[in-house]
Amino acid sequence: MTTPPATEPAPPGGPVAAVELAGLTRRYGARAALEDVSFSLAPGRTLVVFGPNGAGKSTLLRVLATLLRPHAGTARVLGHELPGAGWAVRGRVGLLAHEPLLYRDLSPRENLRFQARLHGVAAERVEELLDAVGIGLRADDPLHTFSRGMVQRTAVARVVLHDPELLLLDEPRANLDPAAAALLEPLIGRASGRSRVITSHDPAGGLEEADVALGLVGGRAALFAPAAEVDAAAIGALYR
């Protein structure tokens, strides 16, 4: 297992790192959900975060999305330090959380139009995405009548609606069948060309997608290495 902390080398004078953490700590009461986590991610690259339940993966995504404040250490996202410059980051990240962050009594079209207005995005983009995620025919049905997979597709449309530079994806393929996963690939997959931080419980699938792998155990970084240098057994060890 590779020993953290480590950083992914970025070319000197090159573009600003998509994510740069140094000693990041976040607590819930007395319990540290993240403790002394440090890494950096170059733009356009994909970091996949592994770790057992309660390891701090979702908390990490919420800190990067500016929804939670760091309690110690520094966190820079797209070159802006959090939480002070959070305003400069909002609207440039897309968070796919466990919850879809959509109103169940509204239809996908109503939800996306609402989000589009908040982000200053044209209504045409909503129609484009409804087709892209394959729910155009049911775009006016209330979300509470949808299967989990259909809700997840709508959530993906919400995440990329404003064309974010950084995607924060919490188990993005949960509830998706293989065809739906393939359909969403251009939006949130490597082909999207965006910087990505993804959480996963699938060692093989996650490593295939990753440029860099981060393993969290008990809120601490237990592994940080280029994905090519990590095997599934090392990821499996995080769960023991």
Binding site: G91, L101, Y103, L106, L118, R158
Partner: protein, 224 residues
């Protein structure tokens, strides 16, 4: 203003598609008037008693509304989705206050006729209605502003159904007292009495102070 309009539109769309707050508050207020109608065993009420019944019923109906004001946002992730958008966070509070104000106006459209039929003997003349509207608009502003603030505070806690009323009731006592004082002569037995400017002034001052307070604090209530 564009963000407030967007949020307001969403609130009204949600209530139109799945009516919850206005029907619940309306049903509560009408039921309360029915209870008073039979419990008091009087053909009609007037003055202090009538004003007290009207204002207290409005207060408790508002508490119902406050408790549900943020539920969809909290349970369905609307809060987080909003916080991820590059917009002024205070807009959320302004939109909620305007929403609650609009719902209170709709509630009063239902509750005032019910109040007149069940508890006011000769009914309400236009003069009474006009004065009631003036006072209730000022009352609604206070209820909406404090309700928005308290609702945002309570929704962050697990015991939100308890916390909301426990904080809101003491804060709203001045509104109840002042509104009842203002309405007592209006609902007098011998027709519409004069509205006293000092009570309207107190209500206006309350609205201003809590409006400014809510504007200053709301952003922090949404913060982690």
């Amino acid at each position: 203003m564009r963000t407030v309009a967007t949020l307001l539109r969403k609130e009204l769309l949600l209530e139109r598609k799945v009516p919850q707050l206005v029907p619940a508050m309306s049903l509560f207020s009408v039921t309360t008037f029915v209870v008073f109608h039979f419990a008091l065993q009087q053909r009609s009420v007037d003055g202090d008693l009538a004003a007290g019944i009207l204002v207290v019923t409005l207060l408790f109906a508002t508490i119902l509304g406050i408790n549900r004001l943020y539920v969809a946002d909290r349970e369905e992730g609307g809060f987080d989705a909003f916080l991820l958008a590059p917009v002024d966070r205070t807009a959320f509070g302004v939109a909620k206050a305007v929403t609650l104000f609009a719902f209170l106006v709709l509630l009063e459209v239902v509750m005032l006729p019910a109040f007149a039929i069940l508890l006011l003997g000769p009914g309400m003349g236009f003069e009474v209605v006009g004065k009631l509207v003036v006072v209730l608009l000022l009352v609604n502003v206070g209820l909406a502003v404090v309700g928005t603030l308290v609702g945002a505070l309570a929704i962050q806690t697990r015991a939100r159904d308890l916390i909301g009323p426990l904080i809101a009731l003491p804060l709203l006592v001045p509104v109840v007292i002042t509104a009842a004082r203002a309405l007592s002569p209006v609902l007098g037995a011998d027709g519409a009495g004069a509205l006293e400017g000092r009570w309207l002034g107190v209500l206006g001052l309350y609205d201003l102070v809590f409006g400014l307070l809510a504007y200053a604090l709301f952003d922090f209530l949404l913060e982690d």
